[in-house]
């Protein structure tokens, strides 16, 4: 190994900058600034963790799904989420970290997951509302990531977005069935939308003037649009969808602004957002406890697999 001199460091940086400027993909073996690597590890890991923790609020309804068709759809969705978690951990691993290490950081609270999953699923309609709003917000966030400068992440997002948009349509269709069902079903759907609307808007992160990572991430082309831009795009998409569903959105300030060509909407309760992010949401404790317990209860199974592999000369996973 030869020491990297200041000159070669500069040359690497210049090559990296040029590649990003030319919209080329950065690949695992390419040189990259340490801060770029660290940001990606943080973001991809957080994304993977969100898929894994996000299984819980929906899995909560698998055993109570009201028809066999809905049960099959929900099981397939939760299974897809585990799969998305696996893609994303693999993408993170190309940056020189390991899944075990990342899971450990999740379990010890050193890495976060999307705060939306700290809200409880209280009725069956929540499953539909999550599909429509939460997956809808995720897609709005994630489609631009398909063009993210880091190749493995961008490619994972292409696969994930295809499956996510399928889930979103199914969620919407499920809410539609409720909305057009009995008065009780309609009320259940409206109640779920009332509870999930604002948390979904919070999924885009803090307002642009308070978003600490945004500027750098946009310069690196990890991020393509600002939080507020994406949030606006999401609102604009949702309003006509809510109308088609026959459900209202719980915002008295929501109205079309002819001048801007966008919907205006009311203020977000950022106190609640920061509170949930800090661990004080309705389900933070429960979600992480369940995840930790699954991991700890499964330790003997993973040890058995490793011992068997060692005895029989297999490569361990």
């Amino acid at each position: 190994m030869t020491a990297v001199t200041a000159d070669t460091q500069e040359a690497y940086q210049a090559a990296f900058d040029a590649a990003v400027a030319a919209d080329e993909r950065i690949e695992p073996r390419d040189w990259m600034p340490e801060a770029y690597r660290a940001t990606l590890v943080r973001q991809i890991a957080q994304h993977a963790h969100s898929e894994i923790i996000g299984m819980q609020p929906e899995a909560n309804w698998i055993t109570r799904a009201p028809s066999l068709r809905r049960k099959a759809i929900l099981m397939a969705k939760v299974q897809d989420e585990a799969g998305h978690g696996l893609y994303l951990y693999s993408a993170a691993e190309t940056l020189g970290t390991g899944r075990d290490e990342l899971l450990d950081k999740l379990h010890t609270g050193r890495q976060k997951y999307s705060s939306i999953f700290n809200y409880p699923t209280l009725t069956w309609a929540d499953v539909g509302a999550i599909g429509w709003l939460v997956d809808g917000a995720a897609i709005t966030n994630q489609v631009p990531l398909c063009r993210c400068s880091y190749g493995p992440y961008a490619r994972a997002m292409v696969r994930i977005c295809k499956e996510e948009s399928f889930h979103q349509r199914q969620g919407y269709e499920s809410l539609l069935a409720l909305s057009r069902g009995t008065p009780e079903q309609h009320a259940m759907a409206q109640d779920a939308v009332n509870r999930w609307w604002w948390p979904s808007l919070m999924m885009f992160g803090p307002p642009d003037d308070e978003s600490s990572h945004s500027e750098q991430s946009m310069a690196w082309k990890i991020k393509r649009h600002s939080n507020d831009e994406l949030r606006q795009r999401f609102v604009d998409i949702c309003v006509p969808q809510a109308e088609a569903l026959g459900l209202s959105l719980p915002d008295p300030d929501l109205r079309w602004n002819e001048e801007r060509g966008h919907y205006d909407f009311g203020p977000i309760d950022w106190t609640e957002f920061w509170d949930v992010l800090k661990g004080n949401g309705p389900c933070n404790e429960q979600r992480i406890t369940q995840r930790r317990r699954a991991h700890e209860d499964g330790a003997w199974v993973r040890e058995a697999a490793a011992a068997y592999a060692a005895k029989h000369g297999e490569a361990t996973a």
């Binding site: 894994i52 299984m55 819980q56 899995a59 698998i62 055993t63 109570r64 799904a65 009201p66 028809s67 066999l68 068709r69 809905r70 049960k71 099959a72 099981m75 397939a76 939760v78 299974q79 585990a82 799969g83 978690g85 696996l86 951990y89 069956w124 499920s174 069935a177 409720l178 069902g181 009995t182 009780e184 079903q185 369940q290 317990r293 699954a294 991991h295 209860d297 499964g298 330790a299 003997w300 199974v301 993973r302 040890e303 058995a304 697999a305 490793a306 011992a307 068997y308 005895k311 029989h312 996973a317």
Partner: protein, 244 residues
């Protein structure tokens, strides 16, 4: 499609698949490793798919799943057993998927016409799925049996605990023209071979008891089953006549 639907058989096999699928669904978010979240959900989905086809041969799948009480279910008691630890789930899968593969293999091979006709198509498709389920269960049986001292002990306990529910699998099902004795000896041979490779001993307890022998097929179930159904059916029953 034949005009005669072997109702008793479709109900028995459909209930088996429905109930085991439900139990596996309870694992979502609790599996020991992410790959198993995917695998267990995958198996649960295959089984749910089989259940839907089978129950639809009998009537409306949702009416049958959600509006029958426990005395009307025809599944074997093995599939309704609680998940327990991962070893219990794997032992249950090993016993059941071996049975399913042998049975569906025969039904698929029996071919076209007669009373079993409507089941042939299902069996032909399902046999591919259950071969994969069996492989998954066998691979885990080997790893747990021949892994660490703890995993060996847990797997051994699980195999023994569920053993007394395995005799019921070979109670003749009305409408299925199968040599049940031969099926049973093939099952024993297959399961014994896996347990031996996994350094486990084949349990020596009875495989049937006064109560468990054939009971599930007659609608006599174990206590946890009623609670499982209460959870499964509660929402559907709370909204009579609603569609979802």
């Amino acid at each position: 499609m034949t005009a005669t639907v072997p109702t008793a058989a479709a109900l028995a096999l459909g209930d088996d698949a429905l109930v085991l699928s439900h139990r596996l669904g309870e694992w979502a978010g609790h599996a020991p490793v992410l790959e198993e979240e995917v695998a267990l959900a995958n198996i649960a989905l295959d089984l749910l798919g089989q259940a839907r086809v089978l129950l639809s041969l009998v009537g409306d799948e949702d009416e049958l799943a959600y509006l029958r009480e426990e005395r009307a279910f025809r599944n074997v008691q093995l599939v309704e057993q609680p998940n327990g630890d991962f070893a219990h789930t794997i032992a249950r899968q090993l016993y059941f998927s071996t049975y399913q593969r042998l049975l569906y293999g025969r039904l698929a091979a029996a071919g076209g016409d007669g009373e079993g006709g409507t089941l042939t198509g299902l069996a032909g498709k399902a046999v591919k799925e259950v071969a994969y389920h069996q492989d998954h269960a066998e691979q885990w049986t080997l790893r747990l049996g021949d892994g660490t001292a703890e995993s060996h002990e847990r797997m051994s306990r699980a195999c023994t605990a569920l053993w007394r529910f395995t005799g019921e699998l070979f109670q003749p099902v009305e409408g299925l023209d199968v040599d049940w004795r031969e099926l049973e000896s093939d099952w024993l041979a297959s399961v014994s071979a896996v347990l031996e490779r996994a350094t486990l001993t084949v349990p020596d307890g009875p495989r049937t008891g006064a109560w468990s022998a054939g009971a599930g097929r007659q609608g006599l179930h174990t206590e946890s089953f009623g609670r499982m159904l209460a959870e499964m059916q509660h929402l559907h029953r709370s909204h009579p006549g609603a569609s979802w």
